[in-house]
């Protein structure tokens, strides 16, 4: 099972901070994951924008990046604190 984390405005889009799910066999990199999840939740392309970065197991990755069903995968909209 993969753990997906949703930050910032994606928390509202998904209605949750996180979920655990089994990835379909063909979803084996971050590009495929963006496409599959966006379609599955009918987000109309929200996850396809480059301004949302992806971290795999706590590291932001260049994409596409391979993913496995045991990974923690975080979707990160533009950051900023202070």
């Amino acid at each position: 099972m993969a753990k997906l984390l949703y930050f910032g405005r994606l928390t509202d889009v998904f209605g949750a901070n996180a979920e655990t799910l089994a990835l379909p066999a063909e979803v084996n990199d971050t590009s495929a994951l963006r496409q599959w999840l966006d379609d599955d939740r009918q987000l109309g392309g929200t996850l396809m924008t480059k301004s949302i970065r992806i971290a795999v197991n706590d590291d932001i990755v260049p994409e596409p990046w391979p993913i496995a069903d045991s990974d923690e995968i975080a979707f990160l909209p533009p950051v900023g604190g202070g």
Partner: protein, 152 residues
């Protein structure tokens, strides 16, 4: 020293402690960021700050190391809130100490630009007209870009 906390903190107390650590430094610059009472969308009720640990802490530690490499600092402090804050509450506190006044000013300025544009936080503002997520403004990215080193 870097602290991420979901509890309120007191900048004056932080400055007092920092001065004790920075004895001999000569120059101390501090920045306090407070939750504003009004925004473009109306009167602010709360500001919610979300972090992604330990990525958030790691990023702040890297920025502190960058500041230490770039300026001759005797001490450095970052405190950043998470969770729900009310207007007037401190969100962030940065303090830098150096023998050189200019180094202390620049390092504090640099750290704030990092925190505003690159630190791993997300902010949700709730006003009397609803809630929305706040992302950095173009000016924040311009401020940050002042520090980019080209050709080194």
């Amino acid at each position: 020293m870097i602290t991420l906390t979901d509890q309120p903190f007191d900048p004056a107390e932080a400055l007092c402690d920092f001065e004790k650590r920075a004895i001999g430094a000569g120059a101390i610059v501090s920045f306090t960021g407070l939750v504003r009472g009004t925004s473009k969308l109306g009167t602010v009720k709360t500001l919610h700050l979300q972090a992604y640990s330990p990525m958030t802490e790691r990023g702040m530690a890297k920025a502190a190391a960058d500041a230490n490499a770039r300026w001759p600092l005797d001490a450095l402090l970052i405190i950043h809130r998470t969770g729900d804050l009310e207007p007037g509450e401190p969100v962030v506190y940065v303090a830098t100490a150096s023998t050189h006044r200019r180094a202390a000013f620049e390092a504090a300025d640099f750290l704030m630009d990092y925190l505003k544009t690159e630190a791993v936080f997300w902010k949700k503002e709730t006003t009397d007209s609803g809630a929305h997520w706040v992302e950095p403004r173009p000016e924040d990215y311009e401020d940050r870009d002042r520090w980019s080193k080209t050709g080194t």
